[in-house]
Amino acid sequence: MQLIACPWCGPREEVEFHYGGQAHVPYPDSPAELSDEEWALYVFFRDNTKGRFAERWNHTTGCRRWFNAIRDTTTYRFESVYRLDDPKPPVTELARSRRSTAP
């Protein structure tokens, strides 16, 4: 059970948090102007990234605030957390590993 660093509360047990899916998927400005396909993309389609992924998290049993995080979906490790009004950090393919190369 890992620790997740809430940007407001600091590191807390994983069980205090709820997952909120892919981050940076804003509600469309004018849904009425979207085609059915465009609207369906917003409602139903999300990335399924292997590696670093920008996600929404909610500190459900703590401060109850939403925040964003970059997490590696292959290792589960959180690489950074940031507030909703912070810009999205660059997400590169390079996954940070828990391991160092020395034996």
Binding site: M1, Q2, L3, E14, G20, P26, Y27, S30, P31, A32, L34, D36, W39, A40, Y42, V43, F44, R56, N58, T60, R64, R65, W66, Y76, L84, D85, R98, R99, S100, A102, P103
Partner: protein
């Protein structure tokens, strides 16, 4: 009188005290400090059980948790299955018997307490052997906050099993001094009888402390029997030692066959001779210590059979001096005996080939095939292993952040090396944490140990018995043999994970502590590939079995999940209410009178509400206070209907959808002020709706000046329902004009009762004239009783959730989550009227314009009236239709939908149901069929509103 195999002196047992225990019906004695296994061995008893599938005799084969042989069931003081004789500490009154691989769960409740403790440390050291003690001392001396946990009854680890010396004194004197030093360090927690069984992310380690198991019936009742320690460590030092590995040969499961190191433990720690005449079979130097120690203690060591061509030149002189015959370049190829080994079959061995052998008489056959570092906790933390050719073992192969392996768990097998490696591990951990190690962290001097002769890696002895490996046991608990591995490979399996599952090796109680690496080795050999390519199976928690009772801890019974009760709960209990669980709430379901069952009580309660007056405790209704200048904007965006146009003093019903347009909750909204609303949600949806509001406010509309907070528990809600409700409410609250003209439907009024603020609302969940009374919970009982008092002349009847459901269903009011399932739109519910056409957007609106939403064959909420006027259609029943010829279509019979709510109606004098039915509204008037207990019940499709469809009753 001492048992026959007890030594005259020595060991860590309390010889002055005798304890009596019963094993397999036989009364025996032992001493405090014994395990069940050592006490049995003291009586000369090796065989403990028979094996799970083959029924072969099995005995004690090791001295601790790696033992695959000695399974027992404890009967007294509390029944517990699948324990190991080697890990059950002896106490007076213990009753146990051997188990053929399967135990029996207790059929009486466990009255013991179990609990859990959270603990946070800088450095957690697992294992209190030489490396662990050195690590703990190093960390403690640096001033770090330290936890030291060890699974044995006392600290010392391997030192408890030998005669090692440190600083020219018995090593256990240093152990005692180290324990005392740790006890004097205020920041150190030192726990014995505590097994770290799981290692997880970020230094999270679970450990099980056995607090009173060893006390038997004398265990104090107020102390928890076992405790789970949830330790969060900034750094973990794993010093868990190594397990000795056997060599596989024919009939290697015969009782009397034991790991060499275990015999040394039984001798030195427990004062027990595991036999009189021993043969020692080894591939490495460590077993020589056992041979020499046993010989000194009076055991006749018949021979040391060493598979290495030269044996151990270094130990030859010692053996010769002790009169022990050395047989280098030889192996044990099999055993003889029935319930106990009587002979070891020994044969020359060169270049993998076995020569002609002979039998050596013995009652004890000791085996050592080398040592497997106990890397479990490291591997659980997803550390990769590497195969070490010299040791023939898998070692930690990389450095993990926050987790260091030290001592023999890291492949360091000599005492001086373990001490130094423990200190190194702790220093590395401290440095990583920015803690400076103490200038003086001296460790005791261990005698120089000569470099041992390199071990021979030998997984198995070729089977010359003619059994073709079918009696060469790899996993004794699973009765799995070399022949089984060969069969798995013959079936085409290559991955060690597949071989494990095919053969079941490593899936038993011991999870492959002795068999796992052997399987890798033998599999590699049979496949002709290097062992490192085979690898090991995955190590998963728990390291040793943990009882569910311990994991549950105090989260049992009433403490499993919080129970929420309303302010009127005691009144309901006194009134004889039958309760039902609604989420975490306890709600009265109905109030039976003497002789009434639920059906009768509900019919009576329904009739009262429809013809007189009823009263409900509706306090569990979710309530959210929404405040701020933009409160109306928020609600306009979240509800399908317009809330901003609601007047202060008025109430509006609203439906809430997800972005997919499906209904997620409904309820009424009271406008308290221009900038303040009270939102009522379903009981089950309260938390979800508040979270929903928060999510949108925080993530999409942070510009809105609005705040939402739950006030569910700040208000009790008491609906007074029925044509006589006006009389009752008017009598209790004379300050309010309750007439239909002055207090119309869907409005609210504030009043007070003797200075206590009260809010009344004309909201109806039954279709009848009704007033909801809101008051602070402190006054709930008083107001409830005033209402009952005023209602007595009218026969006021308290009713529960069942009647509430019948009344609302008769009116076609859906319960979100019962009549809907996440695929239902407001239009499907017949609530197009609740969907605003004026608002440019709200959550869900765009989805309503999708073509699928306009499909006339969508499932729609309709009523069903069973034609026989008798059958209450079971909720969840499928709805089907006949073909034109009056027959069912051939299977699979298409499903039109399902029954969502179904009750007996007092008002209609017949059962009725609500159902989601394909194109339901177009079918009104048609007959469909519902299979009930094998017969097809015809039912007429109706509109969803069955009682008072004109709404004539709501004003009384």
């Amino acid at each position: 009188m001492s048992p026959p195999f007890r030594t005259a002196s020595g060991g860590r047992i309390d010889r002055a005290t005798a304890v009596e225990f019963i094993f397999d019906g036989q009364t025996l004695t032992g001493h405090p400090g014994d395990t069940l296994a050592s006490a049995l061995l003291a009586h000369g008893r090796h065989q403990v059980a028979t094996s799970i599938t083959l029924g072969r005799s099995r005995g004690i084969a090791a001295a601790w948790a790696e033992d695959p042989g000695g399974l027992v069931q404890v009967e007294e003081p509390f029944p517990e299955p699948m324990l190991l004789a080697t890990t059950v500490e002896l106490f007076d009154g213990l009753v146990a018997h051997g188990l053929p691989g399967q135990g029996r769960l207790a059929d009486v409740p466990d009255s013991a307490r179990y609990d859990a403790v959270h603990h946070h440390v800088d450095v957690l050291v697992v294992g209190a052997g030489p490396a662990g003690l050195a690590a703990a001392l190093t960390a403690a001396r640096a001033g770090a906050r330290v936890a030291l946990v060890d699974e044995q009854s006392e600290a010392g680890g391997s030192l408890l099993s030998g005669t090692e010396r440190l600083d020219d004194a018995p090593a256990l004197e240093w152990v005692a001094a180290a324990v005392a030093e740790l006890a004097g360090s205020p920041e150190v927690l030192h726990l014995q009888r505590t097994t770290a069984f799981g290692s997880y992310d970020d230094g999270f380690v679970l450990a099980l402390e056995r607090r009173t198991d060893h006390l038997g019936a004398a265990a104090p009742r107020h102390v928890s029997r076992q405790r789970v320690w949830r330790i969060r460590a900034r750094s973990v030092v794993v010093a868990t030692g190594a397990h000795e590995r056997p060599v596989v040969f024919a009939d290697n499961d015969r009782p009397g066959t034991m790991l060499a190191g275990a015999a040394r433990t039984f001798l030195h720690r427990y004062g027990v001779l595991p036999g009189r005449a021993a043969v020692v079979f080894t591939t490495n130097d460590s077993a020589y210590d056992t041979a020499l120690d046993l010989s000194r203690a009076g055991v006749h060591v018949q021979a040391v059979v060493d598979a290495r061509p030269e044996g151990s030149p270094r130990r030859r002189e010692e053996c010769e001096a002790a009169g022990i015959r050395l047989l280098p370049g030889a192996v044990v190829t099999g055993t003889q005996g029935v319930e106990r080994v009587t002979h070891a079959l020994v044969a020359p061995f060169a270049d993998g080939a076995v020569g002609a052998g002979s039998a050596i008489a013995c009652d004890l056959l000791l085996v050592s095939g080398g040592w497997n570092p106990a890397v479990h906790l490291y591997s659980q933390a997803r550390g990769r292993l590497r195969y070490d050719e010299v040791l023939g073992a898998f070692l930690p192969g990389e450095r993990l952040d926050g987790l260091t392996v030290a001592g023999s768990a890291a492949g360091v097998l000599d005492l001086a090396g373990c001490l130094a490696d423990g200190r190194r591990g702790a220093r590395a951990a401290l440095t990583a944490l920015g803690i400076t190690p103490a200038a003086d962290d001296r460790l005791p001097a261990a005698p120089e140990s000569a470099v041992p002769t390199a071990p021979l890696v030998l997984w198995r002895v070729p089977d010359t018995s003619g059994a073709d490996g079918s009696t060469s046991f790899v996993d004794l608990q699973r009765d799995a043999t070399v022949a089984d591995i060969a069969r798995a490979i013959g079936a085409g399996l290559r991955s060690i994970e597949h071989v494990k599952r095919y053969t079941t090796i490593g899936t038993a109680h011991d999870q492959g502590k002795t068999s796992g690496v052997l399987t890798s080795g033998i599999t590699a050999e049979l496949l002709g590939i290097p062992v490192q390519d085979t690898g090991t199976t995955t190590f998963r928690p728990p390291y040793t079995p943990v009882a569910f009772a311990a994991l549950a801890g105090r989260d049992r019974g009433r403490l499993f999940d919080p129970e929420r009760v309303t302010a009127l709960h005691e009144w309901h209990v006194a009134a004889g209410a039958v309760f039902e669980d609604v989420g975490q709430w306890k709600r009265p379901r109905y109030y039976p009178r003497p002789g009434e069952d639920m059906a009768a009580a509900v019919l009576r309660e329904c009739a009262a509400a429809r013809t007189g007056v009823g009263i409900l405790d509706g306090s569990t209704l979710g309530k959210i206070d929404v405040q701020g200048p933009d409160a109306a904007v928020l609600l306009d965006r979240l509800y399908t209907n317009m809330m901003s146009s609601l007047k202060v003093g008025s109430v509006r019903y609203g439906v809430m959808c997800g972005v997919d347009g499906m209904v997620i909750d409904d309820g009424t909204v009271l406008r308290l002020a221009e900038d303040r609303f009270l939102v009522l949600t379903t009981t089950g949806g309260a938390a979800k709706v508040l979270d929903w509001m928060e999510e949108w406010v925080q993530t999409e509309w942070p510009d809105l000046r609005v705040h939402c907070t739950s006030v569910t528990e700040q208000w009790v809600t008491l609906p007074v329902v029925g044509p006589r409700s006006r009389d009752v409410v008017g009598a209790v609250f004379p300050g309010v004009d309750v007439s239909a003209e002055a207090f119309p439907f869907m409005t609210w009024r504030d009043t007070s009762l003797e200075g206590v603020p009260v809010r009344l609302a004309r909201i109806s969940f039954s279709g009848e004239l009704a007033y909801e009374v809101y008051v602070n919970p402190w006054y709930a009982v008083a107001v409830w009783q005033r209402l009952l008092e005023a209602g007595r002349p009218h026969g006021i009847t308290p009713y529960g959730t069942e009647t509430m459901h019948v009344l609302r269903a008769e009116k076609g009011y859906p319960i979100i989550g019962q009549d809907t399932d996440g695929t239902v739109t407001p239009h499907d519910l017949g609530m197009a009227w609740a969907v605003s056409k004026k608002k440019p957007d709200f959550i869900g609106k765009r989805s309503f314009a999708r073509p699928a939403n306009a499909d006339p064959l969508r499932k729609q909420l309709v009523g069903l009236l069973p034609v026989d006027r008798e059958t209450v259609l079971p909720e969840g029943s499928q709805v089907v239709e006949f073909l034109a010829d009056g027959e069912l279509p051939p299977p699979p019979v298409p499903m039109l939908g399902h029954v969502t709510s179904s009750y007996r109606s007092a008002e209609l004098a017949r059962p009725f149901a609500l159902a989601l039915v394909r194109g339901g509204r177009e079918r009104i008037g048609e007959t469909v069929h519902v299979p009930v207990d094998g017969t097809l019940v015809p039912a007429e499709v109706t509109g969803s509103v069955l009682v008072d469809p004109e709404g004539a009753r709501r004003d009384g």
